[in-house]
């Protein structure tokens, strides 16, 4: 009897594992190729980051380029004496990424139309609305929504936050897989530092899997030398900047008015 019970147990385990393996085989597929390195040189003026990989044929792709989350101290503008607009109280947005660029084949709201209520992140939350929902503002104020709207307006104007469609190209590869290529436009207003490339596979409006890569952006050439000098040898940098300016001024004055020096 005992042995029989043991056999049943073994069989049960086998079924469980086999069943598990079955779901693994049908698991959502997403493979992202490592992104190319990005360097900011003297002539950098924004760039296009091309992201490639493969995704399950039935899934939709959402790609994000996200900067480090930081606290953003700002001033709220208001009317003093009910008449004059000026900077009033201080507000600090917390968990605000320096850059946030989302790209998908169709608008996120359309992807979300699948309407599945299952667990997991919704496609619509991958965009700016979701970002704002995860951010906080200090001090806690009643018109949080209005403040976030203003922040998004400002960041959009600066080209640092955007939600784009149309940059995703799908190709065909295998029956169940499709290849993708995404052109992510990176802004000219970009600082060196650590960023993250994120790819999401969306099925019926819900994220089924994701893959990330860290992206490190570094300065090269003269830009790097200048930056290092300004931060590591600040006094020397300040003195040099002054001396060059004085010499430049003198040189121009001499060249320009050289012929008729009064003294």
């Amino acid at each position: 009897m005992k042995r029989h019970r043991l056999h049943t147990l073994w069989f049960g385990w086998f079924c469980l594992i086999a069943g598990g393996a079955g779901t693994v085989a049908a698991a959502p597929v997403l493979s992202l190729d490592p992104p190319p390195a990005i360097a900011i040189g003297t002539t950098y003026n924004g760039t296009t980051l091309t992201v490639t990989g493969r995704i399950a044929a039935k899934d939709e792709l959402v790609v994000r380029f996200v900067g480090m989350a930081q606290d953003l101290p700002m001033k709220r503008k208001g009317k003093a004496l009910g008449l004059l607009w000026m900077n009033m109280d201080s507000v600090t947005f917390t968990k605000a990424p320096s850059v946030f660029i989302v790209e998908s084949a169709r608008p996120l709201s359309e992807l979300d139309a699948g309407g599945a209520d299952g667990a997991g992140e919704r496609a619509a939350d991958l965009g700016l609305n979701g970002l704002v929902r995860r951010m906080d503002v200090e001090p806690e104020t009643a018109d949080k929504g209005a403040l976030f709207r203003e922040l998004l307006k400002l960041k959009r104007v600066e080209g640092l936050y955007s939600e784009l469609t149309g940059g995703v190209q799908y190709g065909s590869e295998e029956p169940d897989l499709k290849s993708f290529s995404v052109d992510l436009p990176l802004p000219s207003r970009l600082s060196p530092g650590s960023y993250r490339l994120e790819a999401y596979a969306v099925e019926h409006g819900v994220v089924v899997t994701r893959q990330d890569y860290p992206v490190s952006i570094e300065l090269t050439g003269m830009a790097r030398v200048m930056y290092a000098l300004a931060f590591d040898h600040a006094l020397l940098y300040g003195l040099l900047a002054t001396i060059v300016a004085v010499l430049g001024g003198l040189l121009t004055a001499v060249l320009f008015g050289g012929g008729k020096g009064a003294h």
């Binding site: 003297t42 002539t43 003026n45 503008k77 207003r189 300004a230 940098y237 001024g249």
Partner: protein, 311 residues
């Protein structure tokens, strides 16, 4: 095609169009050569508009003014328009005043609503200085036209009497005035305090002070003001680079290329204009800036938040 028209500014963290910055520098240099003002009132907001962080815009502009004012000072020196003695005294006063002003602004901020007070004072002051200068130069031009040659402007002589009674009188040969040593020192302190509180270079306040309170001829005012601005901006550039890392030298260099040239052209234009003409144009410029600031205060801004740290 091959020539890159954009350069990346490592400290500002953004790229800019080379020609645009060169042109901006040229225009502001021109103004400084003609009127003896630094031009920060114009340059800093324009740089912010094209995406340079406010603190970097102001600091790099100081760096640029060092070049433009060197170029302008030398050109004015050749024309005999720089009163070094007066300039140095004003400068000493300005440094003391600037240090004092920084403390005053700390106190104001603690009291709260400092920004409101500063902005309103700035607008009122620009308005007052602009209107006074405009009226005075207009009257003076009319007088000149009608043939009445009056050497001193029509100010009550009680002021002259008071000036004469002060101790430590000395001659300022270049300006052709005899004044107490205290006058430029005290006025320098006053302008230094105001400039520090308002976060401006002070050229706008200094020029009228030199014209009306020190009674210096307009052309010597322009040259001497540039000489003084040069030293103020050397100080600001080094301090900002050292303690805040906000000087973008690439940006300053691009601006400099335009502004040193602009300053030279400005000096040539300044030479052709009469003192009263210079004053009335500067007065119009001051009033224009005032109107612009007033509009900014009255019209609803496009975005209702701003980065902390700017003006």
């Amino acid at each position: 095609m091959g020539m890159p028209w954009h350069l990346y500014l490592p400290i500002a963290g953004n790229s800019v169009n080379v020609l645009l910055i060169f042109g901006l520098g040229g225009v502001v240099g021109l103004l400084s050569g003609i009127f003896g003002v630094g031009g920060g009132f114009l340059m800093t907001p324009l740089l912010i508009m094209i995406g340079i962080p406010p603190t970097v815009a102001a600091a790099s502009d100081s760096n640029q003014i060092v070049g433009a004012s060197t170029s302008g000072t030398l050109a004015h020196f050749r024309l005999g328009n720089v009163d070094f003695k007066m300039g140095l005294l004003l400068l000493v006063g300005g440094v003391v005043g600037g240090t004092l002003g920084v403390q005053v602004i700390k106190l104001l901020r603690q009291l709260g609503n400092a920004d409101f007070l500063i902005k309103v004072t700035y607008v009122l002051m620009l308005g007052f200085v602009g209107i006074y200068m405009f009226q005075e130069s207009l009257q003076s031009m009319r007088r000149a036209k009608s043939g009445a040659v009056s050497k001193t402007a029509g100010k009550p002589s009680r002021y002259n009497e008071l000036l004469g009674k002060l101790p430590w009188q000395m001659d300022f040969a270049r300006s052709g005035v005899r004044l107490s040593l205290l006058m430029p020192l005290v006025l320098g302190i006053l302008v230094g305090v105001l400039a520090a509180i308002m976060g401006v270079g002070g050229g706008f306040i200094m020029v009228p002070v030199m014209v009306y309170m020190l009674r210096m001829p307009m052309h010597v005012v322009v040259g001497t003001s540039l000489f003084q601005i040069l030293f103020t901006c050397v100080n600001v550039t080094i301090m900002q680079a050292y303690s805040n890392h906000t000087v973008d030298f690439v940006l300053a260099l691009l601006l400099l290329l335009g502004s040193t040239l602009g300053a030279q052209v400005g000096v040539k234009i300044s030479k052709r204009l009469q003192g009263d003409q210079l004053k009335i144009i500067l007065a119009s410029l001051v009033l224009l800036v005032m109107v612009k600031m007033l509009f900014e205060l009255l019209l609803t801004p496009h975005v209702l938040i701003a980065y902390a740290g700017g003006h």
